[in-house]
Symmetry: C2
Subunit: 304 residues, 2 copies
């Protein structure tokens, strides 16, 4: 017969961490705002979520999906009592909202945004909140779908959430906002705002310009016959993002204009090199270029 110590009592269940924020007010209840609401609620990282949208349909959809405790089109009412305001609107709207918020929010309320351009927004946020409670950020997650119907609680899981603190940004504000992004499943990475805008001009904004231009080309040619039905996966993947929200992308292209025009010039040079080899029928040059690009692509693709 086996004898032994009586079983020790099970360890107490880990208590869930206290919420990072009481009331989170999200301006813009689209893909990103809606997904953040779902993710923060699921993680128990906020006590209450208020959403602001001009669109009655979006407000109703967000309430019905359980992502919001309250939805309104009244900015002043929505941010009253907020512990955190998240701006999830097109980037020029964020700038306009940053000019309104200081007279509407309480003195302890933190402010953050999810815009795809960071330099001008950080400058505006620092000017609006010189005490350093504005934290600029950009979650690297998205979809060509938009609106609350596309929102998902796991949209940010294992994605980078870039923060671009400036000299004024208060470390405790940065830490608390970062804790919320981590609770939503994201990895928080810090970059200088200007470098962020250069990097995303090339890895995100340029590919969108290119997708729109491809779509335009095929749409123009389409007049003379039905081409697209012959496209395999390739073109459909490309033009998929040409279905993205036009207002959002217009704002991004214009706000990051300088960096975008720089990488577009680089892109035109790359196109020129390929076109020159094709026009000259120079198989050797073309093979060298395509082999180099395959190698570069593999190196880049395998990077962790």
């Amino acid at each position: 017969m086996l004898s032994g110590h009586p079983p020790s009592p099970p360890p107490p269940a880990p208590r869930p961490p206290p919420p990072v924020f009481g009331q989170m007010t999200i301006l813009g209840v689209g893909l990103i705002g809606g997904s953040l609401a779902l993710a923060a609620k699921r993680a128990g990282a906020v006590e209450r979520v208020v959403g602001v949208s001009r669109s009655a349909a979006n407000r109703a959809a967000a309430l019905e999906a359980g992502m919001l405790d309250e939805a309104t089109d009244d900015l002043a009412a929505a941010v009253l009592g907020a512990d955190l305001v998240v701006m999830a609107t097109p980037v020029y709207t964020i700038v306009a909202q940053l000019r309104e918020l200081p007279r509407l929010v309480g003195p302890a309320c933190l402010i953050t945004d999810v815009g795809s351009v960071k330099g001008p927004i950080l400058a505006e946020g620092d000017a609006a909140f010189p005490d350093g409670r504005f934290v600029a950020g950009h979650p690297i997650a998205g979809s060509e779908r938009s609106g609350p119907a596309a929102a998902r609680a796991d949209l940010f899981v294992e994605h980078n959430w870039v923060v671009t603190p400036g000299e004024r940004t208060r470390p405790d504000a940065l830490a608390r906002v970062s804790a919320l992004w981590r609770a939503a499943g994201a990895r928080v990475v810090s970059m200088a705002a200007a470098w962020h805008d250069q990097v995303f001009a090339s890895v995100s904004h340029l590919p969108h310009v290119v997708a729109y231009a491809l779509m335009d080309t095929v749409a123009c040619l389409e007049r003379d016959g039905e081409r697209i039905k012959y496209a395999a996966g390739g073109l459909r993947d490309y033009t998929r993002i040409a279905g993205s929200d036009p207002e959002m992308w217009r704002d991004i292209f214009l706000m990051n204009r300088e960096a975008l025009l720089t990488v577009m010039a680089e892109y035109r040079r790359a196109l020129d090199r390929l076109e020159a080899a094709i026009r000259a029928g120079d198989g050797g040059a073309l093979t060298r270029q395509l082999l180099q690009l395959r190698v570069a692509r593999e190196e880049i693709g395998h990077r962790p």
Copy 2:
């Protein structure tokens, strides 16, 4: 008590259709050649598959995967006794092989190809086989992966297989080759060769040039820092196809040069329109362009 007729005997099991061809010899055992071998064998549409490849590794891999009954690097031996020869090599290699085949194949052997450019190949095939037994074709299926390891028996299922018969093409040869493509699961569609080359310049060859140019741009910029790790799905999707087989795409770009340069010029005009609106900071023009493209994309995307 129920009474009735005794149950009628079950209908005889449908007899599998007889094979469409006895020996099929495939020149090039890569993604397309390998997948065709697998699909034709699975459908019982051929009795025997012989594969030709210069690469000993590809021959061994194809034999091991059971896609070939015999593999060799000897073209003459492989096509001796073939009822169908399928050229699944880069398009300039197809042209070279079309010049060799007439003195190697038997008088009843049909000849076909799977090249992505059709005009020059049809002309060469008609010259090589003036009796009309060359059938030009192009399966619209693929992957950025290449080689026999990427082959799949279902690669063609519910994909279009374009045939581009010319004035010389014998109707019975076209019908028999088309029956094989249907047995592999494809929908056979017929187009004029010149129109095929214009359409695929825009929906396939241009997107590949664009992917290579994007990859080149990011690779050039990458020298000043690690950008790519910040890319979300977008750029990775785009540059995925920059990993495609360089020899295959060099050949396609050069053989379809004229049509490709025409659509590249159209593409540059589209890029110019977007760039002009961005440079001018013209939000109204940009919104109109992006909205139009979203509408065009949706119309095109919803087409059956």
